[in-house]
Symmetry: C2
Subunit: 354 residues, 2 copies
């Protein structure tokens, strides 16, 4: 019982020989260039099909000096959160993988807290002639303005991390926010006992990022609508991301009524973890987002119970590859590519890969 797959290792030469034409003609047929008699074209095409000919990508790239230039527009990894390092790594990795195929990838960083930098970088990109763009459309209005210009110039673009469905992107690659909130609720349903208190915590400065979090909250609440339970759900919004602000806000929220479980809707969960630890409240169950070093610390210490993570690195990787496949093989790309929703605990984080 063996599984052989003899790939016919023939090239244009063999095709030319069988068709009694020169390789030049075969080449014209293959790349459907003009200047081939209809009869000849048909004969060649038939032989190509007969032989199940697959052009040699190596030789093709070697001989073709056509280059593909891609641009990337993402937030710079800030000191406050290193989240964007992960997608960046994925992007770099993909870029390295297709470098030999004649693809260049240039990365532009904007400041997550400053919309004007987004627009500035976007304009720089438009000035140069890129054939494809990968971007994180954090700011809705600015992103729409930018992508509109891209569409006018017929430059395909791919969204990562967050989506704007109406923008006409080639694809969206990123988390399924609603579903991940739903999952969080399910996990919590296992942690919680009757009559206990759940606190949802949104920590975010920029208003635009906020709807990102709200979407998760929606999913979260939808779960309990579908599975009614005898628990109390409260929530608190924290608009200052520094530790002191978070601390005082949390203190206030927790002193009002006791809380048994906290659900942090983004990667800032470590900040909450720090507070719980310092306040001697580590018995409060904690669940949040993203495989960041600081979060893993608290996971190890059993302050955080679960982390939900959606392969940020792979998002970057897939984003670049989607553009590449589209632009070179004219491949059909799925409009929405949701990443897996990974559950990380202190038992499996060691084996986790972004």
């Amino acid at each position: 019982m063996k599984d052989t797959k003899e790939a016919a290792l023939v090239g244009v030469k063999e095709i030319a020989r069988r068709a009694n034409v020169s390789i030049g003609t075969v080449d014209r047929v293959l790349n459907n260039r003009t200047g081939v008699a209809e009869k000849t074209r048909e004969k060649v095409l038939e032989i190509i099909k007969d032989l199940d000919y697959q052009p040699n990508i190596m030789a093709r790239r070697l001989a073709s000096k056509r280059l593909l230039h891609l641009a990337v527009l993402i937030p710079a990894a800030s000191g406050e959160t290193g989240y964007w390092n992960a997608p960046l790594n994925g992007i770099r990795q993909a870029a390295a993988a297709i470098r030999d195929f004649g693809v260049t990838v240039e990365i532009y960083f904007f400041d997550q807290n400053d919309k004007t930098t987004f627009t500035a970088r976007a304009n720089e990109i438009l000035k140069k002639e890129y054939q494809g763009i990968l971007l994180a459309p954090m700011f809705e209005e600015e992103s729409l303005s930018f992508t509109k210009k891209c569409r006018a110039k017929k430059i395909p673009f791919v969204f990562i991390n967050s989506d704007i469905e109406t923008a006409g992107s080639l694809s969206y690659i990123g988390p399924d926010l609603y579903q991940s909130g739903y999952l969080a609720a399910h996990l919590i349903s296992y942690l919680v006992r009757e009559g206990q208190q759940v606190l949802i915590v949104n920590i975010s400065r920029e208003m635009d990022l906020h709807h990102h979090l709200l979407r998760k909250e929606e999913g979260f609440r939808a779960y309990y609508k579908a599975h009614p339970a005898d628990i109390q759900i409260r929530k608190t919004d924290i608009r200052q991301t520094d530790y002191k602000s978070v601390k005082s806000k949390l203190h206030k929220a927790l002193s009002k009524t006791p809380v048994d479980i906290i659900f942090v809707t983004n990667s800032r969960v470590a900040t909450v973890g720090r507070y719980l630890e310092e306040a001697g409240l580590a018995h409060i169950k904690l669940i949040g987002y993203d495989f960041l070093a600081e979060n893993i610390d608290y996971l190890k210490k059993s302050v955080i119970d679960f982390l939900i993570c959606q392969k940020p690195q792979e998002q970057g990787h897939k984003g670049i590859m989607a553009l590449y496949d589209h632009l070179t093989h004219a491949a059909v790309i799925e409009r929405q590519q949701y990443m897996p929703i990974d559950i990380i605990t202190r038992e499996n984080y060691l084996n986790y890969r972004n």
Copy 2:
């Protein structure tokens, strides 16, 4: 703020020019062939380092007619469980990806329930001249005998799915059994209440596969040794894998004393799920292994609560790639590559990828 990485697009020609030698000499240095004066070699090497020269894989493969033949020895996907389809897919995928790089992959299937077929296929492989072998060493004795011959012939081999540490494999790529059992115990600790009953179920026919399951059980018990809890843990071994046998065995086990949670140590969890459903015992929590269609069915129906999965497809993929990287780039391969331990629920299975 831009991130440019101008990969010097220079080749041997440029190196030759700068070093005042011919490309032939550069070639000799690059492939450290003999016949180049020490002084010249040093000069060329320095320029190579200076330019951070990266050979063009395309051109290299095109010019080199050297082929790489790999063999794969894995169980055939049986009717009883389609598990091995997943690794097979990964293997095929990897094979397709490196086909253009001059790699052929031939797959040999053996019968999981018949050791002699393993040996027979293994001997076929040894007759041909493969440069690398990927195998699932299901049967310890037979595998050791086979790999000993491989070592004698200096053929590197990689294990997937299960490991034999003493065999001298290039790498092991597969699950961390102990740790996944440990994780299962942790998950169950969230599901269980004080004083409840947990039942461990091992379903397996072949004795050799059994230690596979025992390893998970070890991890499971280790968790409760580290985190003592007021629960009862019992276990039952089922040596007949058909539904009727499982059913009667389970019936007996459950009638003795009530059970609140069942942990099935392999992918046969659907069989248990079917029984629980039919017996009207769906309230019993159920946790088991592997992303198989039949398991997902019961996950959807809330009969199964969690599935643990270790990316079987990726195991196959990485296995082939490990051999490839080792044999072509002389890359250093990690001896043990544990796969992520993924937790699958009805909220995230849709986005899961093996």
